[in-house]
């Protein structure tokens, strides 16, 4: 058992899979000798050498095109798109190429690749380098979308993503890179499409993802200590496939639901989850479904403003209190 940062867990997860399977390769901007702009790939170049850990030009389309070609011809590439916002530069691959190839070739061509992206705000990078794009990825049929919140999940879900036969979008949170957590020694393999109940509770369910998970946990602790409200916190972890069983079972216990989403409000991931809950668990609901999200605005670069718009523990506490006391 070792205490690892989320950043080191990324490298550990990739190393685990590269050591296991010689077909796994890593490409991206400055990911080799420099160890990555976010230092999430430190040591991989030294361990696996220049043939399997390759720097690329500054061209997101070239990175994903190369990854797709490699995947189609038998490798299992992991490609890094530095800032998740840049997914928009190479969106054709996300929307048209990766997710459609297997379907359109009747299974003859597979694209078993992983795209890692530095997602999310809180680091004062401004409107074009801070977005949470999990909802963009979630809306494309054929993509799987994983959004881990802790070092151990990073390692286990990275393994699941690499071993999956389909394209998996792996969203790492820039503001979580420095956070730490216990990671057991040895091989860790998790399962896509599984949510985790991090804190059981009986009064309300809080569904959270990525950076919003620690904030939801902090809010739940305060709600319990200061107001006697016992919230269940679920880390959704995987948007596609989605673990509706765990979520609906929780709603059936607590009868109240909140999502905490960093993506902007319109068509955020929570909207889809809430629509499923409203449909399937309608007669379990004892109050409105409430989403706590970043407003529908470009993210500000100024620190006070950025902190104001992204949901935090205080806002979660306040929203849950107001909703439940009504």
């Amino acid at each position: 058992m070792a205490e690892l940062t989320y950043r080191d867990a990324v490298a550990r997860g990739i190393a685990q899979e590269m050591a296991r399977d010689p077909d796994v390769v890593l490409i991206g901007e400055d990911i080799a000798k420099a160890g990555g702009v976010f230092k999430a790939t430190v040591g991989l170049y030294e361990q696996f050498g220049p043939r399997r850990v390759r720097d690329t030009p500054i061209s997101e389309q070239a990175i994903l095109g190369a990854a797709m070609g490699a995947a189609m011809t038998g490798l299992k590439p992991i490609a890094e798109i530095m800032f998740a916002d840049f997914a928009a530069v190479c969106w054709d691959y996300f929307a048209n190429e990766f997710p459609k190839s297997r379907y359109m070739t009747n299974g003859q061509v597979k694209t078993p690749l992983v795209v890692r992206l530095g997602n999310g705000g809180g680091a004062r990078f401004g409107a074009q380098h801070s977005q949470s794009v999990e909802n963009w990825c979630m809306m494309i049929p054929g993509l799987k979308v994983v959004v881990p919140s802790s070092p151990i999940d990073v390692v286990g879900l990275m393994a699941a993503a690499v071993r999956d036969p389909d394209p998996v979008i792996f969203l790492e949170h820039k503001s979580l890179y420095a956070t730490k957590g216990e990671v057991p020694d040895g091989e860790i393999v998790d399962t896509l499409g599984t949510a985790k109940i991090l804190r059981p509770g009986k009064d309300a369910t809080i569904l959270a993802l990525s950076l919003m998970v620690p904030r939801a946990l902090e809010a739940a602790d305060r709600l319990q200590a200061e107001h006697g409200i016992d919230c269940e916190v679920i880390d959704v972890r995987s948007l596609v496939p989605l673990d509706t069983q765990t979520i609906l079972a929780s709603v059936a216990r607590t009868h109240r639901v909140f999502t905490v989403e960093e993506n902007p409000r319109l068509c955020g991931w929570g909207a889809e989850l809430m629509s499923i809950i409203a449909d399937e668990a309608f007669y379990e609901l004892d109050g409105p479904l409430v989403r706590i999200t970043t407003p529908h605005i470009p993210l500000p670069a100024a620190d006070v403003l950025e902190d104001l718009v992204i949901p935090n523990a205080a806002r979660i506490v306040e929203t849950v209190l107001r909703t439940l006391s009504n």
Binding site: R102, G107, Q108, K110, T191, P241, T244, H255, F282
Partner: protein, 432 residues
């Protein structure tokens, strides 16, 4: 290729596989009958849509399964054996692959892996509604509170809500339950309770088929959710009987075998009445009322094991002979359980005639989403006062109209019944 239980009709949620035409190992061509299903009110033959070998039957004859369930697998023979494993490889990690067993060694079969349905694709809307979201006085009831109240026999009209604006929440229902222990038992004793109660009484167990279940569900829903009221009038039948005899003599001269029945004329009379009182030709659709411009009349037909109510479309615009022919065809196919769902759905009103059993009068339960039903009793010889104060005997029917008060008020129902009575008692217009 997975063969799914099809949905026949928009309110149908399950069906019974009543017959397997093909057996495991049989080769099939597109269009070959594969199996028969029995839903609420009909049975239907389901053809194969692809060629291959029936490699697996998953649902035994007689089993009731939900619409969309995989009932069988057809393995497409001799094609693309390489592509099939790739289809299986996409199964989500949680999926438990079920491997089909090929029955015929002769055909080059591929292994078909059934894929578990992605939970995100399979949103299951609750099948049951637990009552309105808003009370007559405007108080809102949360969905959970509605379900708890319904399941525990708590009367929401008696509750005081503790939520915002007096909203009734689950806690209000559970508080009511705990403070009133003397409430009657929930209406539904469990099947186990019932079996225990009759365990010592000699009895046979009859299966509940799709039609019986549909009748139980729909009529329970009707009686519980539709505010019925009943209007009864006597109708003199002599003029109609005379007309019918004359018409049948004329028909006999024209075409062999066709005879009008009293029921044919009653259908036409009700259609004429609906045309005269269009306010009664309505459907309650929760937030609006549909006033139909055509008299579509359902007619309850008793069949083996239950009943079905085929609908005669635009009975107002059809001649009595056309109605008669259509009713014969519908009744025959109803008894063979060969009606298509479109033939028994819709309509605004139905007729239930128990006169042939000697029932003098009765009240019928509305067949939702229709708004009314006319219960027709047996003709009786009764003494009536003549114009000059004397007494004569006449044939008289007693009919009772059940109306949905949400859509039809008493006066409207009475006018419809009056128009019907007039159409029967001065029947010549029915033939014009």
């Amino acid at each position: 290729m997975d063969i799914l239980m099809p949905q026949l009709g928009e309110t149908v949620t399950e069906g019974t596989v009543s017959l397997w035409v093909k057996a495991v190992g049989d080769s099939v061509q597109p269009g070959d009958p594969l199996f028969e299903i029995e839903t609420d009110k009909s049975s239907m033959e389901i053809p194969a849509t692809c060629a291959g070998v029936l490699s697996e039957i998953r649902v035994a004859k007689g089993a009731v399964v939900a619409v969309g369930t995989v009932v069988a697998v057809i393995t497409e023979a001799g094609t693309n054996a390489q592509a099939a494993p790739a289809a299986g490889a996409s199964a989500a990690p949680a999926a438990a692959p079920a491997t089909a067993v090929s029955a015929s060694a002769a055909a080059p079969l591929v292994t078909v892996v059934a894929r578990a349905i992605d939970p995100q694709q399979a949103v299951v809307t609750p099948a049951r509604n637990f009552g309105p979201a808003r009370r007559a006085d405007g108080v809102v009831i949360t969905p959970l509170a509605r379900r708890l109240a319904s399941q525990n026999g708590v009367d929401v009209t008696q509750l005081t809500g503790s939520g915002p604006h007096g909203r009734i929440m689950a806690r209000d229902v559970t508080a009511e339950r705990s403070t009133s222990p003397a409430r009657p038992m929930p209406a539904s004793a469990t099947a186990a309770d019932i079996l225990a109660l009759y365990a010592d009484v000699p009895h046979d167990v009859l299966p509940v088929d799709g039609m019986r279940r549909a009748i139980a569900r729909r009529l329970l829903e009707s009686k519980q959710t539709i505010p019925h009221f009943y209007l009864t009038v006597p109708v003199l039948l002599d003029a109609l009987n005379t007309l019918r005899s004359d018409a049948n003599v004329a028909l006999a001269a024209r075409s062999a075998g066709q005879k009008l029945s009293v029921t044919d004329l009653i259908i036409k009379a009700l259609a004429v009445a609906l045309q005269q009182v269009p306010e009664a030709n309505v459907i309650w659709a929760e937030d609006r009322i549909l006033q139909l411009r055509r008299a579509d009349i359902g007619i309850a037909v008793a069949i083996q094991g239950g009943l079905v109510t085929p609908v005669i479309r635009d009975a107002g615009g059809k001649s009595v002979t056309a109605i008669s022919t259509e009713l014969k065809s519908l009744s025959t196919r109803a008894r063979d359980r060969k009606l298509q769902p479109a033939e028994y759905q819709g309509g605004s009103i139905a007729i239930s005639n128990l006169g042939m059993y000697g029932v003098q009068e009765f009240s019928a339960i509305i067949n939702p989403p229709q708004s009314a039903i006319l219960a027709v009793g047996a003709a009786q010889r009764v003494a009536v006062e003549t114009a000059d104060g004397g007494v004569r005997f006449a044939s008289q029917l007693t009919v009772t109209l059940s109306c949905d008060h949400r859509a039809i008020d008493g006066a409207v129902g009475a006018r419809l019944l009056g128009a019907f009575k007039a159409a029967i008692e001065q029947p010549l217009a029915l033939l014009l």
